[in-house]
Amino acid sequence: MRIEPLHTAANVAAVVAWGAILGALYMVFQYVPMERTMGNVQRIFYFHVPSAMVSFLAFFICFLASVAYLITRRRGLDIAAAAAAEIGVVFCSVVLITGPIWAKPIWGIWWTWDARLTTTLVLWLIYVAYLMLRAYLPEGARRANLAAVVGILGFLDVPIVYMSIRWWRTQHPAPVIMGGKGSGLAPDMALTFRVCMVAILCLFVALLLRRIVVELLQDEVDHLYREADVAPPERG
């Protein structure tokens, strides 16, 4: 695969993403009025929820790329799966950290083991393990195979985790949460939310492209080392 066109695409996507993020920040901090009951802290919602959606999307892409890799054996798909998983973990971390910051003043607690929160945490753990596995395996077709298997297994697990936690939660009464979020956002809030959704999506695409470019560069460096018959320097 040629790097240059992707490099250009990543640069364009980055410019678009920064524009969209600036627009989204204007909407969040200037345009949209303060939420009446939750106050200013509610403003994190506009980045928190899109980040959650994008991280799920990223893990889904990792799953699809893993399946496609095992069928076609194209290196590009392995790269896509790895990049998607890594960026999914980045957004998932954003979700897991901004969540409690929002939850503490609103619910009075940092964390509750409800189905959504727990599933997100388990998802994060699965994909961190996926990235760790990749880091511990020598680069090559074998790593791609093994990682793809974990990518598939991990994603299949998600609905079962969600179901099991929901079941578990009905056994133990949890604190009542989520009064009205989503259920009837005011029009200007809904608009702000949509703008933020688009902005975070643009950011995701830009990061994904950049990550793929870097991985292709790594491939090229490895290839050049082989060609020059020089042992690559040891990296941790």
């Binding site: 200013n40 929002w102 460096v221 060609e227």
Partner: protein, 51 residues
């Protein structure tokens, strides 16, 4: 909770977002810079050998 505390939480929330984003960007771009340098060095080395 008082409004200024709410603001603290607000900035803490977006602060977390920026920290993670810029941390990751820093990681990616430092790696990219290193790789680009390596590509350049190796290419020079290879062309010198041929020439």
């Amino acid at each position: 909770m008082s409004p200024d505390k709410f603001l603290d939480f607000l900035f803490a929330g977006y602060g977390a977002f920026w920290t993670i984003l810029f941390g990751y960007l820093g990681m990616i771009f430092s790696r990219q810079r290193r790789l680009l340098r390596e590509v350049e060095e190796l290419r020079r080395e290879l062309s010198q050998r041929k020439g």
